[in-house]
Each structure stands twice: as structure tokens, then as C-alpha cells.
Symmetry: C2
Subunit: 119 residues, 2 copies
């Protein structure tokens, strides 16, 4: 039995990214998380898709906070997909811009990501 | 032989969506397009993934323009994934917010989407 499942995408607020850029980065993280779930945890994947691909986009202060969040999620075995931008526009090549965390059960994600504000 | 492949996501500029909302809608379209390509056109899907999931986010004036774009893409057999928001926040339930068009070869997409500005 799997509870409600969602995907959280944490975006750095300290980078000067426009809304189109942010959308592309968040989409990249989401596709990567979806494909990883499909490969490694079919139950969670199916639940997430059938529930309408629930997504929450949150903001973190910067790279340190994002890396900390990724580390904590990994320790708990949650799918994490950090996105390093190719850097053709707006940010330097290789910049960590955001990370997808999940899909996973909301009850597992909430303690990790619940304190961050929505983007 | 497949040329460079990309995914275009067209977003309505006439809706009053914040950047987090836009990012979630674009991510929804991207995941849907990726999974459809994976199921229906493995060659394009693989090329798109191995090329780094290239994405372009463009803006259209409103619903009419978006529907017209979707219709033209469908006529050409390009994957299209219109996103109708559940409408819990910021827009009315069922609102068409954006559409994923592709992944497809850039040479096929360009005549359809090339005239629209980046978001």
C-alpha cells in the first residue's frame, strides 16, 4: 500500500534565472526523476502518474542548502536528480540550478521539504 | 538517421501564473511528452535523452494561438501534450495552460514554433 505520492523540485533562488529558464530546469529534473522512478520503483512511478504527476516547486537559498537537502534525501533512499546546467545562457556552465526529489510518498518527503517556501 | 531533437513547450502568456506555477506546468508537459515518445517513438526518445533533453520554452498570446499550434503539430504527426490544469491555484479548473510539442527533429519543429519568442 502506497500513500499519496509527489515530486518536489527545489530551485535555487540566488541565481538570476528568468521564468523560462527556471521552467526548463524544473522540467529537466522532473523528466529525470520520472524515468529513474520508472526504472527503479515501478510502484511509486505508477502511483505518481495515476495521481496526476503531483509536483511541488520550492525555493532554497543557495547551493549549500540544496546540497544538504539532496544529501538528506539520498540518506533516506529517495530518488534525487540534481540538475547541472550546460550554461549556454544565464548561468555558468555546470551550475547546480535545482534538484528533483522524488517521486516519493508525501509522508516521507514532508519532513525534509515541508519547511521550504513555494517558488 | 535522426537530426538534432528537441522538445518545445508553449506557455500561455495571458494567464496570471507565477514562476513556480509555470515551472510545474512545463514540467508536467515535459514528463508527458517524454513518456509518450518512449512508448511511441523510441528512436526519437533515445536521441532526445542522449542529447541532454534539449528543451525550449516559448510563449504564445493565448488559448487560440496555443490550440492552433497544437493542431498544426498534430497534423504533422508530432507528439503533442496539452496540459489542462486541475485549477487548485491561480487558474480555473480545466484551463489549458501550456502544451509540449515534441520531442521531434529541430528541422520539423522550427517552421511551426520558431516564430514565437522565448519565455
Amino acid at each position: 500500500m502506497v500513500g499519496p505520492v509527489k515530486l518536489v523540485i527545489a530551485v535555487r533562488r540566488d541565481l538570476d534565472m528568468g521564468k523560462g529558464k527556471i521552467a526548463a530546469q524544473v522540467a529537466h529534473a522532473s523528466v529525470s526523476c520520472a524515468l529513474t522512478a520508472q526504472r527503479t520503483d515501478k510502484k511509486i512511478f505508477k502511483e505518481w502518474i495515476s495521481g496526476g504527476q503531483k509536483k511541488i516547486v520550492i525555493k532554497v537559498d543557495g547551493e549549500d542548502q540544496l546540497r544538504q537537502l539532496i544529501g538528506m534525501a539520498r540518506e533516506q533512499g529517495i530518488i534525487t536528480e540534481p540538475i547541472n546546467d550546460a550554461g549556454f545562457t544565464q548561468v555558468f556552465p555546470g551550475t547546480l540550478t535545482c534538484a528533483g526529489i522524488g517521486p516519493a510518498e508525501e509522508s516521507v518527503l514532508e519532513p525534509l521539504t515541508g519547511k521550504y517556501p513555494l517558488l
